[in-house]
């Protein structure tokens, strides 16, 4: 029962945060909305016994990623909502219809059974402790773990290429 209550509360928090993100005029509020949704999801992970994921969710997402977002919002300034002008009603209608139909389609698809996979290979009472995750991560997934070095290198190099150099480094600027 306690779990049901916890789930109910944080599901509402997550949805409220998401909707806040969606409707807030000011991007800072959007960021805060997303942040609360992420915290709510971290709680969900704990409910699902995924402790490491919950922890990383808080550290990486709520901590690093959202900080980066807020930082960029501060950097480029919160723009004036009026600058965007009124949004055509048709756009709102289309958006809500699309989102609604999408949700309905998924729910409809899952209405029979949400999880049909076989549990033959599973562990009966899975506990996502650091140890269990590490066994998997540094066992089967080692090579994948190593391959993320490419992703991170690209992120670093790409950011440098886009933002770090001054225009004078280019041939076209020098010419």
């Amino acid at each position: 029962m306690a779990e049901a209550v916890t789930f109910g509360i944080f599901a509402i928090v997550a949805l409220a945060g998401a909707v806040t993100m969606l409707v807030a005029k000011n991007p800072v509020y959007s960021a805060v909305g997303l942040l609360s949704a992420m915290f709510a999801l971290a709680v969900m992970y704990i409910l699902l016994d995924a402790h490491l994921v919950a922890m990383v969710q808080v550290i990486i997402y709520a901590g690093a990623v959202m900080t980066l977002f807020l930082f960029v919002i501060m950097l480029i300034g919160v723009d004036n909502p009026n600058a965007y002008g009124p949004r055509p009603v048709s756009q709102s209608i289309v958006t809500w219809v699309v989102a609604g139909v999408f949700f309905a389609a998924i729910v409809l698809a899952g209405s029979g059974a949400w999880v049909t996979g076989s549990a033959a290979f599973g562990t009966a009472d899975l506990n996502g402790t650091i140890e269990n995750v590490a066994d998997e991560m540094f066992g089967t997934w080692t090579i994948v773990f190593l391959s993320t070095v490419m992703l991170l290198t690209i992120a670093a190099v790409g950011t440098i290429a886009l933002a770090y150099f001054t225009g004078a480094d280019d041939d076209e600027a020098a010419a």
């Binding site: 993100m21 699902l48 960029v72 723009d79 989102a99 729910v107 549990a119 690209i154």
Partner: protein
């Protein structure tokens, strides 16, 4: 897992969050908020992974969620760099103004 809150609820919540993310991409004109919506979508996918992982007793789902976070972090870095670079050129994050290329 208790009998009251089945995996279905988590997955429906994830679908709802994903749909809100889709709505955000369609309706928000601020590139940053569009991008936040995409992050929300990735989060809802993670919830799906973790919930299925618990249901089936397969730890892969949690590992996958962790990898998704790595990917998202890399994506955020580059995405924000692009937005900043655009902002330097035209001092606006309104994507509706970026429609020079069309036809």
């Amino acid at each position: 897992m208790s009998d009251i809150v089945t995996v279905d609820w988590y997955l429906i919540l994830a679908a709802a969050l994903f749909a809100i993310g889709v709505a955000g991409v369609l309706i928000r004109r601020n590139a940053l908020v569009m991008f936040m919506s995409i992050e929300l979508m990735l989060n809802s996918v993670n919830l799906t992974f973790v919930a299925v992982s618990k249901e089936l007793g397969l730890i892969e789902g949690q590992v996958a969620a962790l990898f998704v976070m790595v990917v998202a972090a890399a994506e955020v870095t580059v995405g924000l760099a692009i937005i900043v670079a655009i902002f330097r050129l035209r001092a606006s994050a309104n994507v509706d103004e970026l429609a020079e290329l069309k036809g």
